[in-house]
């Protein structure tokens, strides 16, 4: 019944044709990919009315959650899971919208301090009620205990994936 069955059947057939293929790791990776995609799409759909997309939102949220609502592009990239070059592009657009400002750091002039403006903060807080509902909907099928277990296991998986990707 669930749409993932079509994927799972294909992984099974792959294992039948090439027995060294690791079934369970492949399923885990594909599940993660499908979830990430659904979340991204649902986020985009819900944010479109506000004139931003899911990536913009993630970056604004990581800034909102930073001390002083300020941090560097590199920190944003690490926290949001984006490439630095993409942060530059997104921040250009967020600057144009007056949601953030950029200023060189004084203790290290290679660094840029990105800061959420009051207008940016208000914009984020206007989004949060809807986004909170979305997040709850994504995880509605899991009780509190299951969510805790899932968090623990995903952290282990992330450690493995980052070790391979080289941070």
């Amino acid at each position: 019944m669930p749409s993932f069955d079509a994927t799972e059947r294909r992984v099974d057939r792959t294992c039948g044709r090439f027995p060294a293929f690791p079934r369970q790791p492949a399923l885990l990776v594909r599940l993660v990919k499908h979830i990430a995609r659904s979340v991204h799409d649902a986020g985009n759909a819900s944010l479109r009315a506000h004139g931003i997309n899911h990536t913009d939102y993630n970056i604004l949220m990581m800034l909102y959650g930073s001390e002083d609502a300020t941090c560097t592009p590199s920190d944003l990239a690490a926290a949001a899971g984006e490439k630095l070059a993409n942060i530059t592009r997104v921040c250009n657009a967020l600057c144009d919208k007056k949601f953030i400002t950029r200023a060189p750091s004084h203790d290290d002039r290679r660094k840029i301090m990105v800061r959420l403006t009051p207008a940016g903060r208000r914009f984020v807080e206007g989004l949060l009620p809807d986004m909170a509902d979305l997040l709850d909907a994504f995880t509605q099928g899991l009780d509190a205990r299951e969510q805790t277990t899932l968090e623990k296991l995903l952290k282990k998986m992330l450690a493995g994936a980052e070790a391979v990707a080289g941070q």
Copy 2:
């Protein structure tokens, strides 16, 4: 120590500033996103030498796992988690490389049957040993029991996410 801490701290600060924000669902969604990204990047890095990217690979794999190594673009889109328009583009490139062929279906002429060629099958099988190692590395931190639990919980989360995204 793990790089996800920077993200987690920001979610915590967000909850401090906006208490209705659901901490655990937000962490789960961000974990999934970070893992998907690491996997995608590591896949791209490892596949570059072979002249394809992770998306191309996923589509080839879904075909390889199809009955008769044949299916429609719509099925590929659903199984690989891609948009139909993107399947068209990727399949154009895979056709140019002679890894797949396209032919109209006879029982429904709206449909196109995409089929892996013998050259495409050999190409995939040449990739599989390395990709199997990658998959094992991603999940090295999880024992068999944990992988089973993780699969179960991710399937529940996917159901929730797809319900929101509307399939």
